[in-house]
Structures are given as C-alpha cells and as structure tokens.
Amino acid sequence: MVSLLSDVAIIGVGWYGFSPVTLEASFREMAFEAAVSAYEDAGDLDPRKDIDAFVTCEEDYWAGISITDEFMPDQLGGVLKPVYTVAGDGLQGIASAYMKIKTGLFDTVVVEAHSKASDILTFHEIMNFGFDPLYTSHIDAHPYYLAGLEANYYMLTSGVGREHLAMIVEKNKRNAITNPLASYGSKLSVDEILEAKYVVYPLSVMDIAPLIDVAIVFVLATKDKAKKLSDNPIWIEGVGWATETNYIETRNFGEALYARIAADMAYRLAGIEDPKKQIDLAEIDDKFSYKELMHVEALKLSNRYSSHLDLERGEFNRNGPLPVNPGGGFIGIGHGLEAGGLIKLLEATLQLRGEAVGRQVKGVKRCVVQSWRDIPTATGAVVVLSNEEV
C-alpha cells in the first residue's frame, strides 16, 4: 500500500540531568534546559512559532502533583498551544506524536518526559499505590516482590540461572563506564555481582536498576520539515504499544507479551520480517536484569528461552553481532521513571547519528528501542529507528 502520509523524523534532541540527584533545579527548570538544547539541535527552532503541538509523558504520583499536564506548557514554549500529557512512558508519547504528524495536521511535534525521582521519599509506598486496593495491595512487602515472582517463573521455564542475570549486570555496568551520560558504571566480575545480598530472591540490589533525575526533549517533524531543518534526521520507521490484563495473577509470567505485541506492531509498520538480521542495535528495558533477557526474546532478537545462550556467546556485547544496551542500559545509566523510554531513544538516536561518545557502535543503520512501565504494569512500547531514508 502506498501511503500518502508523511514519514516522521527525529530532528532534535536535548537533555538535562542524568544524575542521581539534581538539587539545583526544579523539574520545570530541568525541562526548560532540555528544551532549549533540543530546539537548538533541531536547527535553531523558536517553539513559539515553529512547533505545532506538544506531548508530555508523566504519571502524577511520581510527580507529587495532580494534573501534571497543566504544569508543563511554559517551560517547553507551549503556552497557548495544543499540549497534552500521556500518562505513560516516553515511547508512548513518541507514538502519540508520530500519529499526530501522520494525521497531516501537524508538521512539528515536541515530546517531553522527565524524572525527578530524587524528590520521592516513599518510593515503595507510591509504587504500591498502583496495585488494586481490594485484592493485591494487602501483601505487606516491597512491591519488588512482583519482579521476583516473574523472574522465578521465567528462570524455571527458560533454564536461565542467576549467573545469567549477573552477566547482564556485568555487561551493562561495564558498558556504562565510558558513557558520559551514565551514573552507575563500574567494573565488577560476575562473581562479585553474585555476592550481593538478595532484595527478593532471585534479585539482589545489583539486578535492580537505580534511579536518576533527567529531563529529555525530542522534536519530531514531517519529511519536508526534516529535510529543510536537519542535517541528520533519524527516521521513525515503526511504533507499537500494548497493555496486558490488570489482573496481575492471571498474567503470563514466562513471556513479556506486552513487548511482543508492541514489537510485532512496530516491525509490521517498519517492514521488518527478520529482526535478528535487520536490526543492528537494540535498546532494551532492563529495569531488572532478567527483564532484558525476556524482552530480547519478546522482540524476537533471540529465540524463546535461548537469550541467555546468546548472552553467553557474547552476542549482545558492544562489539558483538547485536549489541544490546551498549551505553549501559538502565542498570548502568540509571532509570528515569516515565522518561525511561526516552533515555533509550536518545541512546539509539545518538548511535544512529554517530554521536554516541565513548560507546559508539560502528555501522549502525537500524535500531529497535523498547520500554516497559515498571511495576506493577504490563505495558510496553517499541520504536524502530533508522538513519537511512526510506
């Protein structure tokens, strides 16, 4: 089918933070700094004239305010313009902006997401607030137990061992050392990682991505605008997203269905039939170490139950045939709540531009980027990017 709708490109990126704590700036000031950088990167845009609409991605309970939408326009240059908030991950916001441009009504759309995780004093209580009040929140344990339940089931069915989880941690923390945006890089052996104390078996503090503060802004545009404004547009070839049942106890714990369905949608739009061959680099959600393995399988970058074998062979290393999280992933960079997907999208965009200082992979032409909305959700989004015009 020939589409008359414009292709969609990323023409600008900007960020502020990538730090465990940002005492010096409010979330609004962080977003302003990120926006100024993104508009400059997009060819010196003036958002008051040159941007048609704005999408922000935020969950009120992480923000500590209600109706976060209303707090967002000023610092992006979006006052008196179309602005809305997606209560979801940044990649869901990218999908939303992509659709806006596809309508033909908008030429340039901005997507913003941020994390001010260091402001949250009762993280586990707030996370627990996402559980059903009548039949799941009665469990009086840190909500990370849900990750433990899933990890145990997945490991039982797949043959994955704790040493494989430690290998993910080892790879991602090592990759992060040379990434100037990463906060949690370190050189640790698999044995050292295995010695860490359990939080919920089989997960230790090493298996759980630590949090960071960050604000990220992307500028998306039609093909015409991209060609006029940008020397290095990155093309969004496909987007997808999906959510599983909210009855947690009936979910399929052995497979990340939300990620598989989202990937199938994005691959279909991108015309990808053999992801293993057609994808050069993957940015995969690793909020927990085992999730990277599950997600790699959901995205068909490994066969089911064999991602740990590919990991053993070094296939996901930065210099391997299919680098996964070569900038360190969330375990090495830190995880930024609903800005998580945009952290991954930024890593992929910089790789495709050849600007991934300290972690550049050679010859990258197409990336897949995937995010998951953290406990207790089963929502995921996938974006396929390329630096080659269709």
């Binding site: 409010s26 302003f32 008051r48 402001d119 004093l121 209580e125 607030f129």
Partner: protein, 172 residues
C-alpha cells in the same frame, strides 16, 4: 420532601451494613523548589518580594521563573518589587477545603503587583467587608502585604499573612 421520590444510592441508615476496607498510603516528596522559587522563598523570609525580569517583553515575573513563557527565553535579572498591588479579582468563600462552614468567611484575591506588567500573587485579603467583594467595590483597590513578624517567617508564601487595603494618603 415528597415521599414518592425514590433516590438512588445506599441510604445512610444502611451504611453500617456495607463492607468497607480501609487502605492508606504514605506519599512523601521533597519537592525541589529550583533556582527561581528558592530565591523567592529566601527573600520572603527577609520580608522582601523579588521577581525575575525578561528584558525582551519587559515583564517582571512574580513568582519568579528562570524562563519567560511568552518569549521562550531565559529571564535576565532579579528585581525587588514593593509588596503593593491592585486587586484583580476576589471571591468570598464560606466553606473550608473540606466543605465545613466557616464562622468568618475568607476573602481570596488575585493581587497584581505594581510595576510588573501583569504578574501577581494569589492570597488572602483582610480588612475588607465581604459585602464589598459582592458589590465589587474591592476590584481595582490598592492593597499592601502584611508580613508575619520576622521571628515567625519560615521562607513560605505564608510569610505574607494577607493583603489589606491601603487607606487614603498612606503610601505603604
């Protein structure tokens, strides 16, 4: 009430027959004030009102922002202003946040601070008869801030207790 009218819902007399499950959660944040509001609060503690000026549109933004939302550029300068303004709009509230009746109604106003070009504060108005809000006499009235005693100030918008009318001939 006409006894034939049947209202929907559970009558209060049957409320103790329903099952209720109590659940609470503690949501605590250390909300970062940022560059602009941190300075604003520190100055309030000193009994001063400060804003940020945008040298493009010439407005003084109060509460201060490090960026001008209209011009989309960083603001340029810190500017002290007198805590004097004009009542832009006002309202009389007869109920609390939880809808309990107030013995003494509250008057809430938007006060446009003089010389800022439209910036203002949200605050209480005292020394005004609720009737004068209802008959709109307070609209456009010049008012000034009444501060808490210095020892009681804590770097909060409530370091200003309220605004009161400036009576004839008085400057501050």
């Amino acid at each position: 009430m006409d006894e034939k009218v049947r209202l929907k819902g559970t009558p209060i007399k049957r409320f103790d027959e329903t099952i209720t499950v109590e659940r609470s959660s503690t949501a605590k944040y250390a909300w970062t004030a940022g560059q602009a509001i941190s300075r604003f609060l520190v100055e309030l503690k000193k009994g001063k009102l400060i804003g940020r000026r945008c040298n493009k549109c010439r407005r003084i933004l109060i509460p201060p922002r490090m960026y001008c939302e209209s011009c989309f550029r960083a603001t340029d300068e810190w500017i002290y202003v007198e805590p004097i303004g004009t009542v832009n709009t006002a309202v009389v509230s007869y109920i609390t946040t939880t809808r309990e009746k107030l013995e003494k109604p509250l008057i809430i106003a938007v006060i446009e601070i003089e010389g800022t070009g439209g910036s203002g504060l949200f605050h209480y108005l005292e020394g005004v008869n609720p009737e004068d809000v209802i008959n709109r006499k307070v609209f456009g009235m010049r008012v000034k801030a009444v501060w808490k005693p210095e020892a009681e100030r804590e770097g909060s918008i409530n370091d200003i207790k309220y605004f009161v009318p400036i009576t004839g001939g008085e400057e501050k």
